[in-house]
């Protein structure tokens, strides 16, 4: 009797909730930003890529920086869900749904932003009909599609038991959502045979997603590293990208944890202990990423090859120095300093660190793409002086910010439709504790 009261309390706490006033404002704001982005994209389709500031030197601008950022953030699904699960990290289970939602939203926008970067969207179709398997770009297209599909499955399978619970609350969810839940998982009866099959599938997914996640970001790094250019010509790039991706993904999770905890009053389920532990994960990943950064920049700095001098001095003390040092400080060093202290691993400081890590990571991606393109080994002849500088046009900013808002919109909508903390898993844990 007492157990069922507790169960009902947990279910009630974790059921998706309708948007309040703040939620509605948030959705409206994101929608407006997305619409501005769509208008900018319309202009790009109407007038061509000439509306961007990308020219012969910088042919990959903030679109590609943003793409790398999205791919990086999507890796969090494999870290929190798969690696934690396979490593037997029990405390991470309330965070798995959040991680998977972020991963799905990020990978959707990674694919979309690539299509935006192509200029004409029909080129995406040509990639499949005329793509060469020798090209890292095709590897990226294949692996992103695969990762998107795996992430969807990893979101869907653990949702099935929760959908059964959601179907019990028709009056709370409303007719439309109830129908949708029925379509998604009315067949789930919670029999031992179904649980067995589902558990097996989740385990297979967790094992499969890790190499695919490593591949997706390694291949993304190879888009750069297989090109002979200052800053990209590095054997360190795959590991450097993976380390950075895990860091920004973990940063995104702590931010989402804090926001959902506050918005849905989930203090009992996402506890201070979760922030303490995620804080430790973030500091470890920050140190790891800092180590790879040192590998990436210290040795070229020590050698200072003539051909790379312009690029390196541009980063360390030239035009890009403010952004470079900002990204290093905000994205790694300050988070490490804050999180090393116990009081720094409280919810609010961890949330602030998460935001810092995300902002630092976005600018870091910008620095990976643009300065290298401005410093080719062989300068172009007769290129107009304006090509030697790059600052994105308003259309590029609008599309980029619109895509970020779009990803947040998907996360918000998914959190409205599905429970952000797995209900069935929480109930099972509760029962295990009671026993």
């Amino acid at each position: 009797m007492e157990n069922s009261i507790i169960d009902e309390k947990i279910i009630n706490d974790l059921l998706p909730q309708k948007f309040g006033k703040a939620g509605k404002i948030w959705i409206a704001l994101l929608t407006v930003i997305c619409l501005v982005g769509l208008f900018a994209y319309y202009r790009q389709l109407r007038y061509g890529l000439v509306v961007t500031a990308m020219r012969d030197y910088v042919s990959w601008g903030i679109y590609i920086s943003n793409f790398v950022f999205f791919v990086a953030i999507s890796l969090v699904g494999s870290l929190i869900t798969a690696i934690f699960r396979l490593a037997g990290v029990k405390w991470g289970s309330p965070l798995t749904r959040i991680a998977e939602i972020i991963a799905v939203a990020a990978i959707i926008f990674a694919s979309l932003i690539i299509i935006v970067d192509m200029g004409s969207p029909e080129r995406f179709y040509y990639l499949f009909t005329h793509g060469r398997i020798q090209s890292p770009i095709i590897w990226d297209v294949i692996v992103i599609t695969t990762y998107f599909f795996i992430s969807l499955l990893l979101l869907y399978y653990p949702l099935l038991p929760d959908i059964k619970i959601l179907l019990r609350f028709k009056e709370k969810s409303g007719n439309g959502l109830h129908k949708f839940y029925g379509y998604l998982g009315s067949f789930w009866k919670g029999t031992p045979a179904q649980f067995k099959l589902s558990e097996k599938a989740i385990n297979i997914l967790c094992i499969t997603i890790i190499p695919v996640a490593f591949t997706i970001h390694t291949v993304t790094s190879w888009l750069f590293a297989t090109t002979y250019r200052p800053g990209w010509d590095s054997t360190n790039f795959g590991a450097y990208f993976i380390a950075g991706a895990f860091l920004v993904g973990a940063g995104a999770v702590v931010v989402a944890m804090y926001v959902f905890r506050k918005a849905y009053h989930l203090e009992k389920y996402i506890t201070e202990n979760h922030f303490e532990k995620m804080g430790r994960v973030v500091v470890l990943l920050s140190l790891l990423y800092l180590y790879f950064n040192m590998n990436e920049f210290l040795t070229p700095f020590f050698k200072m090859k003539k051909s790379e001098e312009g690029y390196l001095t541009g980063l360390f003390s030239g035009d890009f120095a403010p952004v470079f040092w900002f990204a290093i400080l905000i994205g790694m060093i300050i988070p490490i300093i804050i999180l090393l202290f116990k009081s720094g691993r409280k919810p609010l400081p961890v949330f602030i660190v998460g935001i810092m890590v995300i902002i630092g990571a976005w600018f870091k991606r910008y620095l990976i793409v643009t300065p290298t393109l401005l410093h080719p080994f062989l300068p172009m002849h007769d290129a107009p002086a304006s090509y030697l500088h790059y600052f994105p046009s308003w259309e590029e900013w609008a599309i980029t910010i619109g895509s970020l808002a779009g990803a947040l919109l998907i996360i918000t909508l998914l959190a409205r439709i599905f429970p952000v903390i797995p209900i069935q898993e929480t109930l099972t844990e509760q029962h295990e504790k009671a026993v």
């Binding site: 398997i133 020798q134 695969t146 599909f149 499955l153 067949f187 029999t191 599938a201």
Partner: protein, 292 residues
């Protein structure tokens, strides 16, 4: 006001002293130029002159650019003018002997070249001369043996010259490679030198063509004379045409087999698992339907 007036007078006086100091200052001394003339004949065609101009800066010779020199054949007169050259940033200027001095050229087997610089704001006037005898090299090749003959014009005939040092080499992109281990040869009484070609493996073009060169360098009497001959003694370069072959940079239907094997087996393995997991969903659905 009175004090201000005093300061003004004092300032004027000081300015006057400074002005008088600069007015009495000696102009900076002009630099001395060192001019050298070099004589070149390549493949027994039109001879040319290379003029080098240097000056001493901090005890070391440095090339001087922008110096214009007038050049004459045998004597400084309008009829024997070769022309004028202006030195480049290496301090060098080259000029070919023009057809206008052909008459003067034919009068003698020995000629003197004169170079004059009339001086400018920075440098004193300068002069140089060089006397050379007309000579030529003949180059013959038989069965990977090279014979070079040095001949000098005496009166109206070419006669062999003994004791002239010359090099026999293969022309390469960054310098000349001696044809064997002997760096230089000296002509015998018949004016000949012989050298065996020992660079069989040297890469030539598609037909194995290499260019042999015999040259006299910085000779006091003859200047710089060289002659070239193309022979097919080099290793033939057989280009490997990768067009239409399976390479990483070929078209999509020419992808390397190993790459296709690796890529498609990974793809089949991963997507095989995913398809299995989708079927797994149908299995779960079937179990649920049975219970309904």
């Amino acid at each position: 006001m009175k004090r201000l007036y005093k300061y003004f007078i004092a300032l004027l006086a000081f300015a006057g002293i400074l002005e008088s100091y600069s007015a009495f200052a000696q102009p900076a001394p002009k630099g001395d130029l060192s001019v050298a003339i070099n004589y070149y004949v390549n493949n027994n065609t039109v001879p040319s002159l290379l003029v080098r101009v240097k000056t001493k800066v901090d005890g070391r010779f440095q090339p001087v650019a922008g110096i214009t020199l007038k050049l004459f054949l045998d004597k400084d007169s309008a009829g024997t003018s070769i022309g004028s050259v202006t030195t480049n940033r290496k301090g060098e200027g080259r000029i070919y002997i023009p057809v206008t001095v052909k008459k003067q050229w034919a009068t003698s087997v020995k000629h003197t070249f004169l170079a004059t610089f009339k001086g400018d704001k920075k440098y004193e006037e300068a002069k140089a001369d060089l006397t050379v005898s007309r000579a030529k090299i003949l180059l013959n090749t038989t069965d990977k043996t090279i014979t070079a003959t040095v001949l000098e014009m005496k009166d109206t005939t070419w006669v062999p010259v003994k004791g002239v040092e010359l090099k026999i080499a293969v022309k390469r992109l960054t310098g000349d490679l001696p044809v064997n281990e002997t760096p230089a040869f000296t002509t015998d009484s018949t004016g000949n030198v012989s050298a065996d070609f020992k660079r069989d493996s040297i890469p030539g073009g598609k037909s194995g063509s290499i260019v042999l060169i015999a040259k006299i360098e910085d000779n006091d009497q003859y200047g710089n004379i060289s002659v070239e001959k193309t022979v097919s003694w080099g290793a033939k370069f057989i280009p490997v045409n990768t067009f239409n072959k399976r390479t990483l940079f070929a078209t999509r239907d020419k992808a390397p087999i190993w790459l296709q094997l690796i890529a498609y087996s990974i793809l089949i393995a991963v997507w095989g698992i995913l398809i299995f997991l989708v079927f797994n969903l149908f299995k779960i659905k079937k179990i649920g339907s049975r219970l309904e």
